[in-house]
């Protein structure tokens, strides 16, 4: 069953055609990588899907419903959660406080002007669960801004998971990480996809990671879709080799 469906989606910024006529389908439970050189339109694609801005043309369907011009807050309600290229967390709060805010939002209790013991217990349970899933429990009381970049990313994913996403959009989840952090992040992404069944779309530059974990790969170049397929197909696609892998090799 397809979860996300883009039909001839375009986006232009003034004279710049950032994306043109992109059509792609992501199946339920899929782990999909989006790759392409800088400026290919990967982040623009994420911004369109997450409702950051609407497409100039074409249509987007999610879970059977049209979401072409729906605002980000409603998309979050429907289950589309994203992380950003630059980590967006609550930097001067502790890890626990970061996840507590996320849990309270997800539980729909953010407006409660006083805390009760029962409510605190429910919130704490959810927070512990989130820390458990992403494995950041040992750093619960550390200030998020003082964590390593990799751990901040993990916190961000914990925040995203609080909303029980149907579709997780990860914009360069391993950017700026060392080898070990990258491995851990990759393992986490794969684990969330396989164990929790979260359909995931991620932008990544590291080909080893992409070929290692993605079910399917979408290649963008210059705002157009160059190719789509599994690791084997993409690696052997002459157009991709010319436009993208060729430079790297």
């Amino acid at each position: 069953m397809s979860l996300l469906e883009l039909q001839s989606v375009s986006r232009r910024f003034g004279a710049l055609q950032a994306l043109s006529e992109i059509s792609l389908t992501v199946q339920q439970g899929e782990l999909r990588a989006v790759i392409g050189p800088n400026g290919a339109g990967k982040t623009t694609l994420f911004n369109l899907i997450s409702g950051f801005f609407p497409p100039s043309g074409g249509s987007i369907r999610f879970d059977g419903k049209p979401i072409t011009k729906v605002n980000p807050a409603s998309l979050v309600q429907q289950g589309i959660i994203r992380t950003f290229q630059i980590t967006e967390i609550f930097l001067s709060l502790s890890v626990l406080e970061n996840l507590r805010i996320a849990a309270e939002v997800a539980m729909g209790v953010s407006h409660r002007p006083w805390m009760t013991r029962a409510l605190r217990t429910r919130i704490d349970e959810r927070v512990q669960e989130l820390m458990h899933v992403v494995g950041i429990g040992s750093k619960a009381d550390r200030i998020a801004g003082e964590l390593s970049h990799g751990d901040q990313r993990v916190v961000e994913i914990g925040i995203a998971l609080s909303r029980s996403p149907k579709l997780l959009l990860l914009d360069e989840p391993t950017a700026g990480m060392g080898d070990e952090e990258t491995q851990n992040m990759t393992a986490l992404i794969r684990r969330l996809n396989k164990e929790q069944g979260i359909t995931t779309l991620f932008v990544e530059h590291d080909m080893e990671i992409v070929f290692g974990i993605a079910d399917r790969i979408t290649v963008l170049d210059n705002g157009t879709m160059l190719a789509e397929g599994n690791a084997h197909e993409i690696a052997n696609n002459p157009a991709v080799q010319a436009a993208y892998l060729g430079q790297a090799a």
């Binding site: 997450s50 980000p72 807050a73 409603s74 979050v76 309600q77 959660i81 994203r82 950003f84 967006e88 967390i89 609550f90 930097l91 001067s92 709060l93 626990l96 406080e97 507590r100 805010i101 996320a102 309270e104 939002v105 997800a106 209790v109 953010s110 407006h111 409660r112 002007p113 006083w114 805390m115 409510l119 919130i123 458990h132 494995g135 950041i136 429990g137 040992s138 750093k139 619960a140 009381d141 550390r142 390593s148 990799g150 751990d151 993990v154 925040i159 609080s162 909303r163 070990e180 952090e181 491995q183 851990n184 393992a187 986490l188």
Partner: protein, 337 residues
């Protein structure tokens, strides 16, 4: 790092967590100590050269600055227009007592509602802007009421201010009367201050308060969690408006007078200075700031007309050496130990 991702899954929170209850206990002890000091203030104040009215003034400014600080320090909204709600509270109380009732609690309630409801109505407009534009729009809205007070002479007394009302004794029960002399009034102020502080404390420790802090920290993140940030910022603005209006009402009672200056943006600026001076990330910071501000103003103005220069100097030194305010500085010292 690799170990952290896997082996810590079931691990209980590390030792840092144990430091928390101890810190919380210290905070409770501090609060109890403060309560004891404030409750006994009329008894010990004369020995340190103080008097009841100045203690009332400290509490009133502290309440106003703590109310403002819900928006400023905890939600991240710099308002230079909160004098409007302070002044509306003051005029509300004055007008009620002068024309409608001699019931002080009822007048206080009306003044608080007037200022608070105006803040509630204007908040959604102000929070549509961010940063410096938000500050500008709060000034503009605030000054509106200043000019109304000046122009509507028949009702407000114009530049001369509103006089002709006083603190009538409160008849609580048949035979039980709370007279509002300096000491009696101090305890009314203390009661209102405690009420305001409890409301703020409860809100800040609730999910709503956590949401306010999250707004200060990262609006983008919150938006993409599905939170309508402006709505929550407006709620913070409104609550702070009610608290500031209550303080304004008490201020009118303290002086038996209120002037357009209680609506002017210089007072808004004073409240911001008080919060920043004391420490706007700390719950009691504005209280400490208010104590310094009011006492320095009182003593320095006996010596020189330029008491503002003294406050200004203290403010500059504080911003240079304790950018987190005095309470922020003390808190950090404790953590470093």
């Amino acid at each position: 790092m690799k170990d952290d991702m896997t082996s810590t899954l079931a691990a209980p929170p590390a030792p840092a967590a144990q430091a928390r209850p101890a810190m919380r206990r210290n905070a409770h002890v501090g609060t109890l100590l403060l309560a004891a000091l404030l409750l006994t203030a009329p008894a010990w104040l004369p020995y340190v050269g103080g008097y009841d009215d100045i203690a009332s003034r400290v509490l009133i400014y502290a309440l106003a600055a703590m109310g403002l600080n819900l928006l400023l320090g905890f939600t991240g909204g710099l308002s230079f227009g909160h004098a409007a709600y302070f002044g509306l509270g003051a005029y509300g109380v004055g007008l009620m007592l002068k024309y409608v009732t001699h019931n002080v609690p009822l007048a206080l309630l009306c003044g608080t509602l007037l200022g608070g409801l105006v803040a509630t109505v204007l908040a959604p407009i102000a929070v549509r802007r961010k940063g410096i534009y938000f500050a500008m729009i709060t000034i503009a809205i605030g000054q509106l009421f200043y000019f109304i007070a000046i122009r509507w002479q028949a009702m407000t007394g114009g530049y001369d201010g509103l006089t002709g009302f006083s603190r009538h004794a409160m008849h609580l029960l048949p035979g039980v009367t709370w007279t509002l002399g300096s000491t009696g009034f101090y305890y009314l102020v203390l009661l209102c201050f405690a009420l305001g502080a409890v409301v703020l404390w409860v809100v800040l420790h609730s999910p709503l308060g956590h949401t306010f802090v999250a707004i200060r920290e990262n609006q983008k993140r919150l938006t993409f969690l599905g939170v309508r940030v402006q709505r929550y910022a407006a709620i913070s603005f409104a609550i702070s408006g009610f608290i500031v209006a209550l303080a304004g009402g008490l201020n009118a009672l303290l002086d038996n007078f209120t002037s357009p200056n209680s609506l002017n943006y210089t007072l808004s600026g004073d409240l911001v200075v008080i919060a920043v001076l004391g420490g706007m990330r700390n719950f009691w910071g504005p209280f400490v700031g208010a104590a310094i501000f009011v006492l320095v103003r009182d003593y320095a103005s006996n010596v020189t007309n330029n008491w503002m220069s003294v406050i200004g100097l203290i403010f500059i030194l504080s911003v240079l050496f304790f950018p987190l305010g005095i309470m922020g500085f003390l808190q950090r010292k404790k953590v470093e130990k």
